[in-house]
């Protein structure tokens, strides 16, 4: 059962500048890409457990969109959560959509699973 929780306005997000969001004590990282696409992943760095992913650098690998951890620079696929630099790690991806200029993230009864991309 998926609930969509509004977290901020799309205008609150700068393009390619990540932001953290706090939902019921859980932290997520939001990234706005050119063309108003938004990605959401867990804010927890899989390598260290620190809540920092929102402060990493957004980039690309081939045609995949990536986020690099700000602590030790592991590179993750923003859509699948796969880690390109250290395959043992993976980053939980969270469903996200934009409705009337409001960014919403998906919460299910268990932990968040979804397409990880909204347009």
């Amino acid at each position: 059962m998926t609930t969509w929780i509004p977290v901020c306005r799309l205008d609150d997000l700068e393009v390619l500048w990540g932001e953290a969001v706090l939902v019921d004590g859980e932290q997520f990282a939001l990234f706005r890409l050119p063309g108003d696409r938004v990605h959401a992943v867990s804010n927890e760095d899989p390598a260290t457990g620190s809540q920092v992913l929102a402060r990493g650098i957004v980039g690309s690998r081939g045609d995949r969109v990536t986020i690099a951890s700000p602590l030790h620079k592991q590179v993750y696929d923003l859509e699948t959560g796969e880690c390109y630099s250290t395959p043992e790690y993976s980053l939980p991806v969270v469903g996200v959509r934009v409705v009337d200029g409001v960014v919403e993230i998906a919460r299910t009864s268990r932990s968040g699973a979804g397409t990880g991309v909204a347009a």
Binding site: V7, C8, D12, L13, E14, V15, L16, W17, E19, A20, V21, L22, V23, G25, Q27, L30, L33, E44, D45, T48, G49, S50, Q51, V52, R55, G56, I57, V58, G59, S60, R61, G62, D63, V65, T66, A68, P70, L71, K73, V75
Partner: protein
């Protein structure tokens, strides 16, 4: 492999008497055979009377100007199985019949093979008062001379007067080095010109000009007849053969070497005509199983004080003991003077003594230039050469000794302003590194990886072949061969930054500069693809910051910034930040210290002094940074850029203001430099250091730019760093006035910023730049590229446009907005940050402490450890 020397099951014991470079090379050679597992069990015990591990005597002149560690090779060698160093104990007797060596401490070592590597002692002339003089031979000698020159200067209240007796290589190095330390040197030399054993008159005259230009006085064609001393034994001066007396506080003898053959004589070995243990081509002495290597070995009646033949002999004996049949190829007596600012090199038949030899000479004594190439009668075969003032052709020519020159001899006289012919491909059998006897072919094989993994970079190639690891003079050639081989093999050395940008950092820097691009979008439009990544984006941000000096988080640059630049603070492991205000030169008022203390207390920050004379406050959360900086900026602090690839600190000692030894105001200079270069973005972080005298308390030579005060001004050193590949900074220029010093640093830094690779520190940069440090000196001091004005103008622009990043942030609500913890809860603390108290200060909780904390929270609510919150 079998050998007539081997006796059976137990290890074959080799004892080496003497712990100098020859002994080191021998031990290393045996060790590498053991490591390859293809040798019988040979153990080596080296007995050395000095306490040091074998060190690089050739580099003693460097020790004179800085207390450098000269230990040869990898210290690990001496703790490898089967290799033992017994330092600080002399051998006192050798019993050839019993095959044993008695040591001064009474212990007895039995051997199967014995190697004499006792070297030589500095010769002291038999004149009255000679015992009041000193010699220049060991690390202790050098350290003593340094300390004594300083002590004399302090107690006399003026520079010490030093007389160096002997104008050969070592004498010149000693005199030049002491001069640099502030002493006034005079060289007394029996020949009519300096280095008269290696150089002809023209070259000696040119060298004399160069040495005199360093402020050293020459007394040529003279010998000392006695050392004059006062009633207390204090040295007063030296009397010369021409009757005059020169006053002196310190006398140093450097008139030659005497082989240390006393043990060998006593044991009954054959001795050469002029001393030294007589050896054959196989380095064997007159007694079976006893060998001699290095300066104590007499080949054809001559002992030679050079490292290349010593190494060659060590290899021959190692091979022979392992059953090989190597023989000593003869002496290569090429020499090179290691005195900064004075280039002298000679090789082969430098004096043109061969039958019918022709000498092609360029001489300009006024400029201190002399170049001579000696060729065979048909002007084709290279027999030798001498270079004074400009030794550039030496590197390329020396390997061609005894071969046909690819071009006209006169074409190599670079001092005459001619362009040297493009060097033809060197044949494989040419010796490239004579110190370690490495051929061109061996280097090529290592590059191609014929026997092991291919070496495609300079560092590993040097380590693997040993070429260029001793005196370093062949390094430019090694590098050239590497480049040629790689391009032949079609290995394109890709300089592309990453998959998004095909240019190297320096190419991108130039492109951005020429096209005057001012934003990330424009750069990507011209040179990039995709969304970029954590490699190329920070590089672009850095280039833009250097060239435009704009606030680094504006105009789309914010999203380019590396972790630390994004928040203008250093991110720590738990996602909190450390805050480091700038404290220029480490000078701070009690009032400002109080502000730091108050901030740290108010925000519960862990405080610690950094290695660069400032104070680091840890544990600040993202949303707290503006509040913290508001207080700091209001109190007159500014960002210390401890987070940036930029200038960090300028460390200084207290200088002449307070210190009784200081000769210049190190603090004022450090502050001026820190304020000048603050905020300058660069390929890697860089640091400066300023010491107020030669004691070097600021450890300036471990910095990218080190400045050391002299009586006359400042000496400028470049390319030092700590880190995991430490390097000492090297002398770029000396005795500069303030203005020239700053101009040179401006040029050096800008040239580095323009041409270095991403994350390349100054040490690697200046090493890998074609032409190395000499090239840097040409560009910075001689303006060889005509860039000086442009580089200085670029720096002036940086200085003019500097603004404090934190003050700029605090003045702008849009910029401040980014310092929010959560987009939907901007002031809420990260609930994940958990701290514990240790030694009265907070620190991040370890995983076990976090788990324990979580459990207690479940059972009884929060206790210690505490969550960090409002």
């Amino acid at each position: 492999m079998t050998s007539p020397n081997f006796s059976g099951d137990r290890a074959h014991r080799v004892v080496v008497i003497g712990g100098g470079p020859a002994a080191h090379r021998f031990a290393e050679s045996v060790h590498s055979r053991r490591a390859h597992g293809d040798s019988p069990d040979v153990t080596v015990t080296v007995v050395g009377e000095e306490t040091h591990l074998p060190y690089d005597r050739v580099a003693l002149s460097r020790r004179l100007v800085s207390s450098e560690d000269l230990t040869l090779g990898d210290r690990e060698l001496w703790s490898s199985p089967g290799i033992t160093y017994r330092g600080g104990v002399a051998a006192s007797r050798v019993d050839l019949e019993a095959c044993s060596v008695e040591l001064a401490d009474g212990s007895i070592l039995s051997y199967d093979d014995l190697v004499f590597a006792t070297g030589s002692a500095a010769t002291v002339p038999p004149i009255p008062g000679a015992s009041s003089g000193y010699v220049y031979r060991t690390i202790e000698d050098v350290d003593f001379l340094v300390a004594e020159a300083a002590r004399l200067a302090t107690s006399l209240g003026r520079p010490a007067d030093v007389v160096v007796v002997g104008g050969g290589l070592l004498g010149l190095e000693a005199a030049g080095g002491l001069q640099r330390l502030g002493a006034r040197s005079t060289i007394v030399h029996s020949g009519r010109w300096l280095m008269s054993a290696q150089l002809d008159e023209g070259a000696g005259q040119a060298l004399g000009r160069l040495i005199e230009a360093q402020g050293v006085t020459l007394a040529l064609g003279n010998r000392p007849t006695q050392v004059l001393t006062g009633p207390s034994g204090r040295v007063l001066g030296v009397e010369l053969t021409d009757g005059r007396a020169i006053s002196a506080d310190l006398v140093v003898f450097s008139i030659g070497i005497t082989p240390r053959d006393e043990l060998a004589r006593a044991a009954g070995l054959d001795i050469g005509a002029r001393g030294g243990i007589a050896i054959g081509d196989d380095c064997s002495s007159s007694h079976p199983g006893v060998w001699a290597i290095g300066e104590v070995a007499s080949v054809g009646g001559v002992c030679v004080g050079l490292v290349a033949p010593a190494n060659a002999m060590a290899e021959v004996v190692a091979d022979r003991i392992h059953g090989g049949a190597a023989s000593f190829p003869g002496i290569d007596d090429a020499t090179k003077l290691k005195l900064s600012g004075v280039e002298v090199a000679s090789f082969g038949d430098a004096l043109g003594a061969s039958d019918g030899a022709l000498e092609v000479v360029y001489a300009d004594p006024a400029r201190g230039m002399y170049q001579k190439i000696v060729v065979s009668n048909d002007a084709k075969t290279l027999l030798g050469g001498i270079f004074v003032g400009d030794a550039a052709p030496n590197t390329a020519l020396r390997p061609l000794l005894g071969r046909e020159l690819p071009g006209e001899p006169s074409a190599y006289l670079s001092a005459a302003g001619v362009e040297a012919p493009a060097s033809a491909e060197l044949p494989d059998d040419v010796q490239l590194c004579s110190c370690n006897n490495v051929s061109v072919g061996a280097v090529r094989e290592a590059i191609r990886g014929e026997h092991a993994e291919a070496c495609t970079e300079l560092g590993p190639l040097k380590a693997c072949t040993r070429a260029g690891t001793q005196c370093g003079s062949c390094v430019p050639l090694v590098k050239k061969i590497l480049e040629t081989e790689l391009s032949k093999a079609g290995i394109e050395v890709s300089k592309a930054l990453c998959e998004h940008v095909d240019l190297s950092r320096s190419e991108l820097f130039e492109a951005v500069r020429i096209l005057q691009l001012t934003s990330y979008e424009h750069i990507m439009e011209h040179f990039g693809r995709g969304l970029g990544c954590d490699v190329c984006k920070p590089v672009m941000a850095s280039i833009l910051a250097t060239q435009t000096s704009k606030y680094i988080l504006d105009s789309g640059s914010g999203a380019l910034q590396d972790t630390n630049d994004r928040a203008l603070a250093n991110m720590q492991k738990d996602g909190t930040y450390s805050v480091v205000p700038r404290i220029p030169g480490g000078e701070i008022t009690p009032a400002k210290l109080k502000v730091i203390a108050e901030v740290a207390e108010q925000f519960n920050l862990y405080t610690k002094l950094t290695g660069g004379l400032r104070i680091d406050m840890f544990g600040a959360r993202l949303e707290q940074l503006p509040d913290i900086w508001k207080i700091l900026v209001d109190a007159g602090f500014e960002s210390g850029q401890a987070y940036g690839k930029s200038l960090r600190t300028v460390k200084s000692c207290v200088g002449s203001t307070w210190c009784r030894f200081g000769v210049q105001d190190a603090v004022a200079m450090a502050i001026e430099l820190e304020l000048r270069y603050r905020g300058l973005r660069s390929p890697h972080k860089f640091k400066l250091g300023v010491s107020g005298c030669a004691r070097e308390c600021a450890e300036a030579r471990s910095k990218d730019i080190g400045i050391i005060a002299t009586e006359q001004g400042w000496n400028l050193y470049v390319g030092g760093n700590g880190g995991y590949q430490p390097a000492h900074a090297l002398l770029l220029a000396q005795d500069l006035d303030d203005k020239t010093l700053i101009a040179y640093i401006d040029r050096y830094l800008m040239y580095y910023i323009r041409t270095a690779d991403r994350l390349q520190r100054t040490a690697r940069w200046q090493e890998e730049l074609p032409g190395g440090l000499d090239h840097v000196r040409d560009v910075v001091c001689n303006d060889s590229l005509g860039l000086a004005d442009e580089l200085e103008a670029a720096m002036a622009e940086h200085v003019g446009n500097y603004e404090d990043e934190w003050a700029a942030t605090l003045n702008d609500p849009e910029r401040l907005r980014r310092f929010r913890s959560f987009v939907n809860a901007p002031r809420t603390a990260d609930p994940n940050v958990v701290q514990v108290t240790e030694r009265d200060q907070p620190r991040p909780a370890r995983p076990d402490e976090r788990a324990a904390a979580a459990e207690r929270v479940l059972v009884s609510g929060p206790s210690i450890p505490v969550r960090k919150g409002q």
